[in-house]
């Protein structure tokens, strides 16, 4: 046991080191007081210097951050609708398996594969394909093309999470609602949607992260005026990683941690509330 525990501790230590050491380097260097040419290598003292210029209108990242947030927001909103409806529709088809089993099963099988395609084919190909399509349609490259492109790869993430959640539910719930007097829309709003909500939320968070993070596809479909954050970071590190990029990364890291922490907190609170009602009921 003891021997095992030594090796497993070592293993975990190596993993953590490998994962977090690079991140630590970024965080530490972002506070570098060295404002000269060697700022990327030599740590000379602690300072917030690089953070001050972060949102400078000319040299900062403020506009790009806003563009990224805007693109991510709209593509996630639209993807959430598309993905949820898609998941509901696919499962409804499956439920009718009694109706005409084979044909429908085969069709949903193909449909599922097709829906997964955007996250399975290489990003590079998707990016080029989208660029070709948009220029064929003579769409002006800009926020709209970025949002369209992001929808293509955001939708599958939401679709998968919502579908796996819905498939754990009784397929008869919807029928029960109808049977009790709910119209199809009412049944969807009062039964399916509330039950799918946690999955829609977690799928959307994932898609949001993917959209904020995307470089390759955005690279092909962005316009001259619309640069997303990853594109801006890329262009600014062409000449070497500046401490300003480090500062930006640290800010984003902090934001990500914050989101995760809040998410955990919310689910922990929900769990606690559930446990409390159970206890109260049993008492």
């Amino acid at each position: 046991m003891k021997k095992n525990s030594f090796w497993s501790s070592l293993y975990i230590a190596v993993i953590i080191l490998a994962l977090y050491l690079p991140i630590m380097v970024v965080v530490v260097l972002s506070f570098n007081g060295n404002t000269g040419r060697t700022a990327a290598m030599n740590f000379t003292g602690f300072s917030f210097y690089w953070y001050k210029g972060l949102f400078d209108p000319i040299s900062g990242f403020g506009t790009q951050m806003l563009t990224s947030l805007e693109v991510a927001f709209w593509s996630v909103m639209i993807s959430a609708c598309l993905g949820t409806l898609g998941a509901v529709g696919m499962l409804r088809q499956k439920m009718r398996k009694a109706a005409s089993e084979r044909a429908v099963m085969k069709m949903t099988g193909i449909g599922e594969q097709l829906a997964m395609l955007p996250i399975m084919i290489p990003e590079l190909i998707l990016g080029i394909a989208l660029m070709a399509l948009f220029s064929l349609l003579k769409l002006p490259f800009g926020k709209m093309t970025l949002i369209f492109a992001h929808i293509t790869f955001c939708t599958p993430y939401i679709l998968i999470t919502v579908k796996s959640r819905l498939s754990t539910l009784e397929p008869t719930l919807q029928e029960a609602a109808r049977d009790l007097g709910a119209s199809p829309a009412k049944a969807f709003a009062t039964v399916t949607l509330p039950l799918a909500a946690p999955a829609i939320l977690s799928g959307s968070l994932l898609a949001f992260a993917m959209s904020m993070d995307d470089f390759v596809i955005s690279f092909f479909v962005n316009g001259a005026q619309t640069t997303t954050l990853p594109l801006k970071v890329y262009s600014s590190v062409k000449v070497g990683v500046t401490p300003q990029v480090n500062a930006l990364c640290t800010v984003m890291l902090g934001a990500a941690f914050l989101v995760v922490a809040v998410g955990q907190l919310i689910s922990a609170l929900a769990e606690k509330r559930r446990a409390d009602t159970t206890k109260k009921v049993q008492a």
Partner: protein
């Protein structure tokens, strides 16, 4: 059947899935206030029938009438018919009270009335004080009661129950059977009940519709279904029955002489029996008697092969010299000790043995 006693009528109901025929032309009249059971092996079409009545499935052909009105094309939410699903289908994100009140809210019943009627219903199903619990915090039997309350609170004209006791253990099942029957009488709602459990059907129903391959084999009271099965399938599906394959040798008045692999057996004839016909004689296991001493009148001889003891009863396996094996179930109070290999005499009261047509091998 006059118009005002008939609640629901099915006329020529047919349902085809792909190329598979699920329902094969059903006609049925359900009487107001009755407890009707659809009984049959799995895959016989009973759930499909129920789903068509509920509006969850469209018939390929035929019509459904509720109080004389054609409701075949009406969506489920517009029918005064409610269903208790096999797996209860309680809404997991709503507490018990919200589940029971769901249908009332959909009907835009004022909030105060909803609360009042939900409370009444909770009392009726003996779940007072359980309103705030979530379905996941209930036992199987309690969930079952919530599911019934949720449908019954809408006072439907007809309540459809799809194997509602299927998921419960035997003891709870028995208890729920009598509770359900009591509830049905209290509410005065017509029940159409699905089960594949013959004992449950016999216990609870006013009438039983025995189904097979998308057709009704027999529609009758539990008593008639047991005492006078219409076909060999009906006889074997309900109760333990010995089926003797016979040929009609001759008919004289009330009596018919049958031939079973060379053994002549007398029986009481039916009006459809003709000489030369092959048919089945069925004798319920508990009405076939055996003893070492030969009785007066007609009897058969056989070899005692062995028996299964089950407390109050014992089922004996007896082989005739034609190779047929018959089962006889007797009370154990005053039984005679018979050892395997001994010869015994078999007899039965002629009134209890019925002639039926042989439909056991039939398929659609």
């Amino acid at each position: 059947m006059s118009e005002d006693t008939t609640l629901l009528s099915l006329r020529g109901l047919r349902k085809t899935f792909d190329t598979q025929e699920a329902l094969n032309g059903l006609d049925l009249d359900v009487i107001r206030g009755e407890f009707l059971t659809l009984l049959g092996p799995s895959g016989c079409g009973k759930t499909t029938t129920l789903r068509i009545i509920a509006g969850l499935e469209m018939p390929t052909e035929g019509q459904v009438f509720l109080e004389g009105k054609d409701i075949t094309l009406l969506p489920p939410e517009k029918r005064e018919v409610n269903t208790v699903f096999q797996n209860y289908a309680l809404f997991p994100h709503m507490n018990v009270a919200a589940n029971i009140g769901y249908g009332l809210r959909m009907r835009k019943v004022p909030k105060a009335d909803v609360l009042k009627r939900v409370d009444e219903m909770l009392r009726l199903v003996q779940l007072e004080g359980y309103g705030k619990r979530m379905p996941s915090q209930l036992s199987g039997g309690q969930r079952q009661r919530v599911a019934i309350a949720r449908s019954a609170v809408l006072s439907p004209k007809l309540l459809l129950l799809d194997e509602p006791l299927g998921a419960l253990d035997l003891q709870l099942r028995r208890q729920m059977q009598s509770e359900l029957k009591k509830m049905q009488q209290q509410l005065g709602i017509t029940f159409i009940y699905i089960t594949h459990d013959q004992e449950e059907a016999l216990n609870m129903s006013d009438r039983i519709a025995l189904m097979r391959d998308g057709r009704f084999v027999q529609l009758d009271t539990p008593h008639n279904l047991y005492e006078r099965p219409a076909t060999a399938f009906a006889a074997t599906f309900i109760g333990e029955t010995n089926i003797l394959d016979c040929t009609v040798v001759g008919i004289s008045g009330e009596e018919v002489l049958l031939d079973m692999s060379g053994i002549a057996i007398p029986a009481t004839t039916e009006d459809w029996v003709v000489p030369g016909q092959t048919l089945c004689l069925c004798i319920r296991a508990e009405r076939l008697h055996y003893a070492k001493k030969s009785p007066e009148g007609f009897f058969l001889r056989g070899t005692f092969k062995g028996s299964h003891y089950a407390g109050s009863e014992r089922t004996a396996e007896i082989e005739l010299n034609t190779g047929h094996t018959l089962f006889s179930r007797q009370r154990t109070e005053q039984e005679e000790t018979v050892l395997p290999g001994e010869t015994v005499c078999l007899w039965w009261d002629r009134k209890t043995a019925g002639l039926v047509i042989d439909d056991r091998e039939e398929t659609t």
